[in-house]
Point group: C2
Chain length 430, copies 2
């Protein structure tokens, strides 16, 4: 799993990438993630059969932290074994599997063990005892899975930044420096335990677009083996309020270009790890079209490594209290019927396997607004601002464009390796 899918070719380009991966975030059909409490390999096998039938090649799997580590000093062997079983069941169906460790946050619900909440509340990212235990859990999972051929690697946790963002009800106080240290510790633990895995961390779009997020661009694009992108249109719609026809399907491509542009290493893979079609921003009968319209533009990107749709199975309406949008994000409904979006991704994946979109550097890059070392300036690069507008104008004109960091805009080596021949300053076309 260590091959760099966007390694430079002999001419210095990065067009020699393998075909992109198509997969799905696995949300168990019966019982959602509560099903870990009643682990049923037969039910998992049936879910994975349905996923494999959609021509997908990988799944992203989520444990629940309180079930894996109910005491700071108790990592449950049965929980590790159950996760291993899911990865093995995936292997039997030709699916690669990555595993997120610290959940943490899932679909509006926070799952934290009792030893970090209430009377035991303490800092998730800096308390030495907490961090030590998290490290042990990452290592334990890595060790439990490292010998499985289809195990692709760990993600530290699903959008772990959420616990440290303004607005969280129990916000953790953490500086960007502390966050970087924490991410590096978790990443190092993953690599120690599973040296051949490709490990990464994940975060929501605040890391890209909110100046206050303690996950900086450098954390996003330098810690771990790939840069993850979670693309949710509802995070951009407020910013696009003034656009009469907001091009929501362009957000994923913009974020992927941004992830590619921000990295110091031109060849660092970008994994579109979460993208979904949330109502009402995407009407349910438009989900399949949205899926194709959002994914297709990304496919030429040399650094693009794969897409993992959110999610496999609709949340059952029998489970209460999810935000309304969460009930219909699946490729497969809660009765097991494939939905139009499921058929569409199957077609797209099969077509890309037969006839992959050529990887091709975008010659034109829009210059990003400068971002300071402390992360200030990120918001100026969010959808709705001049950088986005310039990039979108080019896109709408049929000129597929990428992005470039302002401090790299005259770096011949970077320009050369990314194949960029034209840099556009948004100020020049405003």
């Amino acid at each position: 799993m260590n091959a760099d899918p966007a390694a430079p070719t002999a001419d210095g380009g990065i067009t020699d990438s393998p075909p992109p991966r198509f997969g799905v975030n696995y949300t168990p059909r019966v019982g959602w993630f509560h099903s870990w409490l009643d682990f049923d390999p037969g039910a998992v096998a049936a879910d994975l059969d349905a996923i494999a039938a959609l021509q997908l090649d990988h799944v992203r799997i989520f444990g629940l932290w309180p079930l894996l580590q109910p005491s700071r000093t108790l990592i449950r062997p049965a929980a590790l074994s159950d996760l291993r079983t899911v990865v093995q069941l995936a292997a039997e169906r030709g699916l690669e599997a990555s595993v997120d460790v610290l959940q943490g946050h899932m679909s509006s619900f926070d799952f934290l063990p009792s030893w970090v909440t209430s009377w035991h509340r303490r800092e998730l990212f800096t308390d030495p005892d907490v961090v030590g235990a998290q490290t042990e859990l990452v290592e334990a999972l890595g060790t439990a899975l490292s010998d499985l051929d289809n195990f692709s690697g760990l993600t530290v946790g699903n959008e772990t930044n959420q616990f440290a963002e303004p607005g969280h009800p129990d916000r953790q106080q953490v500086t960007p420096g502390q966050m970087g240290t924490w991410l590096q510790r978790m990443d190092a633990a993953a690599h120690r335990a599973a040296p051949s895995g490709r490990h990464q961390h994940s975060f929501d779009s605040r890391a890209w677009f909110d100046d206050a997020s303690p996950v900086l661009w450098e954390h996003a694009t330098a810690v771990g083996d790939a840069t993850t992108v979670h693309s949710w249109v509802f995070t951009a719609t407020d910013r696009l309020r003034d656009d009469p026809d907001p091009p929501l399907e362009a957000l994923a491509d913009y974020q992927v270009q941004l992830a590619a542009a921000v990295a110091d290493a031109p060849g660092r893979p970008v994994w579109l790890q979460e993208i979904g079609a949330p109502p009402p921003w995407v009407p349910p009968d438009h989900a399949a079209d949205f899926l194709a319209a959002a994914i297709t533009p990304v496919l030429d990107t040399p650094q693009f490594d794969g897409v993992t749709w959110w999610c496999s199975h609709d949340v059952s309406p029998a489970l209460a209290d999810f935000p309304e949008l969460e009930y219909s994000l699946g490729l497969i409904d809660s009765n097991g019927q494939v939905k139009p979006a499921g058929r569409r991704i199957a077609e797209l994946a099969a077509e890309q396997r037969r006839n992959p979109t050529p990887r091709s550097p975008r010659r034109t890059a829009v210059k990003l607004s400068p971002v300071a070392a402390d992360g200030t300036g990120r918001a100026a690069n969010a959808p709705g601002n001049p950088v986005w507008q310039a990039w979108l104008e080019l896109t709408r004109a049929g000129r597929s464009a990428t992005l470039i960091r302002s401090d790299l805009a005259r770096d011949e080596n970077q320009l050369g390796r990314r194949g960029i021949t034209e840099v556009i300053d948004p100020a020049d076309i405003a």
Copy 2:
């Protein structure tokens, strides 16, 4: 289970009670309550064997709310079944079993399902959806257990008041009136589901002694079929700081007399549902003596129904983050060895079975300080205050005394039914 153990005898007294019950709060030896996640009937059977060998006749059993009801609309059949299995295993060893439903709080840890925390935080006692779901869980557990002969009843939850007390990190806002309504709803649900059970609720000593507690005396002594007493000396030691030789072993008796005194119904049973010997207040090598010294004085009390020691098994030192005192409260250590306190309670229980202490009304009662309808005035009845001092002085002088509510101090019916012939006003002996 509906027999009133302190029903008035023909002469209007209440001395015809059955022998008191001796039991223990069951804390699984391996994995503490996290063991629900790896439910092992064999391990439970071994624990219950050890408990039965201590001449005990009952256990109090605790579920964990997030495992019973991980979604507001998902009560796990397997969790109900596991609890039923524990009650059945207890039956096979001649042990009655009561079950606490809403944990809630255990030994400093709070266990709340994700649908009432963080982004989903809402009022535990008043939110209609939450209360509805709690009602369903109480009913489901009652229904699951009601046919078992040794199932004695439900407790709403372990010290549920803690979530509503000042100082809780996520304090729930609830008035005494709302708390009373909530308790009555839970009690009604228990009775609907298991009509022959004796059901109750529980609370820590703040309900008795803190004016701010939303659980009022009337809730303690009128909701449910018995009044529960949790007696922990550390709750009184601050108040007894000025006493050169604080009689910590007298606290349980004082609380039992208080519970008997506060009830409108003179015959309402009082269950000493929790009492333990916490270090450093009780030095470990004094635990057995403390046990005998604290329980023995209570045994003559007509309303006294039984005692349930906290707890069966020491928390393993392998489990981190418990307050230090919690590791050594067991009758049995974490390796399965019976401790001196275990032998002492076995002797006491066997002796009481052979030769029960006669139930005998205490003829002298100290008049309590008045308490207003809103609960104001309770603190004046806490240890260290004149009521306590007067009661203690009598006790130390060998004159076993009870307590009486100030508004009942001239109620001939109440005095007669409780067998009280002398009421002492603390002011008269101050």
